[in-house]
């Protein structure tokens, strides 16, 4: 699906990990992104999909926050945000 391919492309551009080696199950923690790289990745995702991803660098483990642990988590989070009315 398009969203997944585009998420992987952004993750690949930010991390240098080849897109072909990533799957839905790929752990974001395995991509070698540092804290700045993660923040830049979130910005790129927001710009691409026109969404605002809830993320606070001080509370990255916050349960209610966006699931940034895997490719599938990001894809599903973005699809939820896209489906939601923009006023949120």
């Amino acid at each position: 699906m398009m969203t997944k391919a585009e998420v992987i492309a952004i993750l690949s551009a930010q991390s240098g990990v080849p897109a072909a080696s990533m799957t839905a199950e790929t752990l974001i923690s395995d991509l070698g992104l540092d804290s700045l790289g993660l923040v830049e990745t979130i910005f790129a995702l927001e710009e691409r999909f026109g969404v605002t991803i809830p993320f606070n660098a001080n509370t990255p483990q916050d349960d209610s926050a966006f699931d940034l642990s895997t490719v599938a988590g990001i894809v599903s989070g973005i699809e939820t945000l896209i489906a939601r009315p923009a006023a949120a």
């Binding site: 700045l36 979130i42 910005f43 710009e47």
Partner: protein, 399 residues
């Protein structure tokens, strides 16, 4: 007291992307001032400037450095690479530090963020907006790039920022606080907003920068960086480094007068303080790289101050303003102008004041115009007099 020498110099400026390219342009008297090529130019009333051309950060910096750095910090990093390479093996030490000047910091980064949220209605700005725009960014990136863990900070004193930075680093090495420092300055204000702000003051020229000329009509903005390795002399000699020049004195004063109009008394006191700090007599000075902005108030005030300091001896000192060639680099001005001082002290070439048409009787000193002049210069001053009345003058001797 320890002696302090310059063992490395690096630059990115409108005249060239290295010290050697800059030397060549200074010798030739080629001005880099020309038509600006920036977005939204049609909404500016002043459309000339001195832009850095052909700067290619991809070949000199890592992708992460490029992503994190505004143009002003990229200039500083590339200039520092050249300076450190020239200073050679063993020049830097972990206790070394960095002092850089800048007036605006990451102007283009601030502007891009404002444009995104105010003009374009964007929901967000780039996540690195803060680390890009902060005035100390260039200093911090130099510290990280060269693993320098000593005293490091940024000074922001408008057009005198680089001279303050270099002067403070000089005093720190001379006092023995540190064996070696990186010092200089960087500026990148040639963006729509940066120029629009200066337009408002009505001090920019639309015709060119002609310091000390009766037809002068204002300053022309430039951009770039200069970075130097300042090192304790015995240490430099012990490791066989080539000495480019010796920094001997630094004088700083404040006018305590007007926020934009200079007071000749403040400039006079700063030049005298630099001479006194360096144990120099007025008769030792063979060249003054003037602040020489090309505004009427600066040029007349500066010439009057030079007459006060040097008396009848003022007329035998060669004076030039290289801002006519590289533009006014604001917070990087003193750093890039120090390269013209190195050319005079090291190679006996005084870079000219370009564009001169008619003498101004109120600036009746030995202004070197049109063409470079060969001269044996034993000692020189480099002047910087900032908006806000903050003055910083460096005194140097030939190696």
């Amino acid at each position: 007291m320890r002696r302090v020498v310059i063992t490395g110099a690096g630059t990115v400026n409108p005249l060239g992307l290295s010290v050697n390219q800059t030397f060549a342009a200074l010798r030739a008297g080629n001005t880099a001032i020309g038509a600006l090529d920036i977005p939204d130019l049609e909404r500016l009333s002043v459309r000339i400037g001195a832009q850095v051309r052909g700067f290619d950060p991809e070949t000199r910096l890592s992708p992460r450095q490029i992503s994190l750095c505004d143009r002003f910090a990229q200039f500083a990093l590339v200039a520092a690479q050249e300076a450190v390479a020239q200073a050679g093996e063993g020049a830097l030490a972990p206790g070394a530090g960095v002092v850089l000047g800048t007036a605006g910091g990451g102007v283009a980064s601030s502007e891009a963020a404002y444009r995104a949220v105010f003009a374009d209605g964007s929901a967000r700005v780039h996540p690195f907006t803060v680390p890009r725009l902060m005035a100390n960014a260039a200093t911090s990136h130099l510290s990280m790039a060269f693993e320098l863990r000593g005293p490091s900070f940024t000074v922001s004193t408008a057009c005198a920022a680089s001279n303050h930075a270099i002067g403070l680093a000089f005093h720190m090495v001379r006092s023995g606080a540190v064996p070696v420092m990186l010092a200089g300055g960087s500026e990148a204000m040639l963006s729509f907003g940066g120029i629009k702000a200066w337009e408002g003051l009505r001090v920019l020229s639309s015709t060119g920068c002609r310091p000390f000329c009766a037809t002068r009509d204002g300053l022309v903005m430039g951009e770039g960086a200069g970075v130097f390795v300042l090192e304790e002399r015995d240490r430099a000699l012990a490791r066989g480094a080539r000495v480019l020049a010796e920094v001997v004195g630094f004088g700083m004063t404040a006018d305590a007068g007007d926020i934009v109009v200079p007071d000749p008394a403040g400039a006079e006191a700063a030049m005298q303080a630099a001479l006194d700090d360096g144990g120099l007599n007025g008769s030792d000075i063979g060249y003054i790289n003037a602040h020489g902005t090309g505004t009427m108030v600066n040029d007349r005030s500066e010439c009057s101050a030079i007459r006060k300091v040097f008396g009848s001896g003022a007329e035998r000192i060669a004076i030039s303003s290289t801002k006519s060639l590289h533009g006014h680099l604001i917070g990087a001005a003193g750093a890039v102008e120090l390269i013209a001082v190195l050319l005079a002290l090291g190679e006996g070439v005084i870079a000219p004041t370009a564009g001169h048409r008619t003498d101004d009787p109120e600036c009746a000193l030995d202004i070197v115009t049109h063409q470079a002049r060969a001269a044996s210069v034993g000692a020189a001053l480099s002047n910087a007099f900032a908006f806000g009345g903050l003055n910083a003058v460096l005194a140097l001797k030939a190696a």
